[in-house]
Amino acid sequence: MGYPVFALGDKWEPTDANAVGLWLVKTQTVGSAVSSVSVTSAFSSNYDNYRVVYDGGTSSTDAAFTVQLGSTATGYHYSIVYQQYNAATPLGVGATNTTSWPNAGRQSTVRNSLVLDIFAPYLSTYSGIRYAGVDYAATSGFIITGGGMLNNTTSYTDLKINAGSGTISGGTVRVYGYRN
């Protein structure tokens, strides 16, 4: 017996391993009072698409993360929908050719949160992103969901998470590859 149900003593076959959908590619602990965290060698030819999770640590202030690929600071298109916990109406904002993907997650003095799906960052084609984050800033917090694309066909290996304001400390950024 093997994939998808295993029992004690079952042999782990290559076909079983190759059926695993998500692999942890890189783990990066966030340091103290940093305004940005660059995770190098996050993307490679091993995977077309990735999930990035950062839920932990704290921020010196409540704000929003921005995300960049490599050192690129232009060509980001995005659109987001957001709503505060204590608001009745969702709102939205979008822009083209910006310096980053903004509002990609939430910084908080309570806990930071960022979840990204990044599409084709290593491939020589347009990169895409979907993102979200949970705001732990109690009743005034936001839930943001958004996405966008980067308007170039550059191949990227690195991810950069920026604090929109203030600095962040602690927690762990985890990069997972979706198996091709």
């Binding site: 966030v30 340091g31 009072a33 600071a73 709102l91 310096t99």
Partner: protein
């Protein structure tokens, strides 16, 4: 204010003057100006 730190993988260091100038140019502030999501940050 003192320049914030920057982190590249496990290396955490203080920003250079040039990096800090670029950070300020990006719209970063020590404290948020607006509490709601706005445009390019």
């Amino acid at each position: 204010m003192a320049r914030p730190n920057i982190q590249i993988d496990d290396l955490v260091r203080e920003m250079t003057d040039e990096e800090y100038a670029a950070l300020l140019e990006s719209g970063w502030t020590p404290e948020p100006i607006e509490s709601e999501p706005t445009g390019d940050e």
